[in-house]
Symmetry: C2
Subunit: 196 residues, 2 copies
C-alpha cells in the first residue's frame, strides 16, 4: 500500500488553500499519496483551545492578512481578497468532502481543488448545498445536505483532534504533525531523511 | 548608515533563541546590521491579544514542545529541555538588554548570545540580577536592577507593539514584519528581491 501524507485543512483557511496547491507535488516526490481531511478551526481553535478567531485577534489578525497577501504575491497564487466580515461558513464544504472521502475517494483531490479555487480564487460563497452545484456537481452537493455527511464530518473533525491537529494546514506524516505551509520544506527534508 | 534588521524576541522563547543564532548571518548576507530588541510575550500575547500562554494552550502547547525539539535536533542546536513549569521570568534579562542597547549598544549581540546560551543551552535561571553576574558581568547585571532599565524595557515593549510585533521571533525589515523562524528563508528572498 502506498504510504500517505494526511493533509488536514479548513476551507476557510487561505494557507490551507495555498498548501492544497503544493501537497500533491510534495507527496509525489516521496512516493506517497494524499489523504484530504476537512477540519474545522471553529472547533479546534475556539472550542478546544479556547481562543478567539485569528482575524479577530489584535496584532495577529492584521499580520495574518498581510502574510497571506505576501505569500499569494510571491507564489503567484490566484486569489481574491476576502472581506474580513464575510468568512464563509465552511460546514457545507467540509461535509461534501467528508462524504466524498467515504463514497468517491478517488474524486477527493478534484473536489478540494474545485472548492478552494471557487472560494479563494473566485470569491464565491459556498455555504449552501445549492451554491456547491456548479462547483462539484449535483450529486455531491445534494449529499452535502445529508445527515450522513454531517456525521462523517464530525468523525473527521474528531479524528483530526485525536491526531493533535489544531491549525490549517497540518500535514501528518506517519503520526508526526507539521503545522503551517511554512513547514513544507521541513517536511520535505524529514521525508528525505526518514525523520532525524 | 548601514540598513538594519530589527530583531525582536523574548528570552523565554526557544524559537527566539534559535533565531538569535542565525540573524547575524542573514543580516550580513544583505549588508545589514542587527538591532536586538527585547519584547515580552506576557504583554503582547496575554495583555494585548488576550490569549493564554502558548504552553498552556490545549493541542498547541504539546505541538510546540515537539516542534522545538524537532528544530533543535535538525539544526544541532545545544539545548536543555526546560521543564514546562519553570518558565523563567524574563524581566531581568529584558531590562539588561534594554540598558545595554542604550548605553553599550556595541555589546548587545554578545549579551544576547550570553543570556540565550546560559538559559536555553545550559538551563540556568537568570531571573535575578545576581544570577546574571556570571553571564553578563557585574555592571550590566546591576544596571538590570535599575529603574532606568525598567523604563527602557517598557519603551522597547511599547515600540515593538507599535511596530505590530506580537510573537517571538519577529524580524522587521524596513517596516515589514516577519513572524517566526520559519520565515527566515522568505526574509532572505524578500531582501534579495527588495520586496515583491
Amino acid at each position: 500500500m502506498t504510504p500517505v501524507l494526511a493533509f488536514h485543512f479548513d476551507f476557510i483557511s487561505p494557507f490551507g488553500y495555498f498548501a492544497s496547491l503544493r501537497i500533491e507535488d510534495l507527496a509525489a516526490r516521496h512516493g506517497r499519496s494524499v489523504e484530504w481531511h476537512p477540519m474545522l478551526l471553529g472547533v479546534s481553535v475556539m472550542k478546544v483551545m479556547g481562543l478567539k478567531p485569528l482575524l479577530d485577534t489584535p496584532l495577529k489578525g492584521p499580520y495574518t492578512e498581510r502574510d497571506v497577501l505576501r505569500y499569494a504575491r510571491e507564489h503567484s497564487v490566484p486569489m481574491l481578497r476576502q472581506p474580513r466580515d464575510a468568512v464563509m461558513n465552511p460546514l457545507t464544504c467540509g461535509r461534501a468532502l467528508a462524504w466524498v472521502n467515504r463514497h468517491q475517494p478517488q474524486r477527493a483531490a478534484e473536489v478540494v481543488h474545485a472548492i478552494y479555487g471557487a472560494y479563494w480564487g473566485r470569491g464565491l460563497d459556498l455555504s449552501t448545498p445549492g451554491s456547491l452545484v456548479p462547483v462539484v456537481g449535483e450529486e455531491i452537493a445534494q449529499a452535502a445536505a445529508s445527515d450522513e455527511a454531517a456525521a462523517l464530518l464530525r468523525a473527521e473533525v474528531d479524528a483530526a483532534l485525536q491526531a493533535g491537529v489544531f491549525g490549517s494546514p497540518t500535514v501528518v506524516v506517519d503520526g508526526e504533525p507539521f503545522w503551517g505551509i511554512d513547514k513544507f520544506e521541513q517536511i520535505d527534508r524529514w521525508l528525505t531523511r526518514g525523520g532525524w
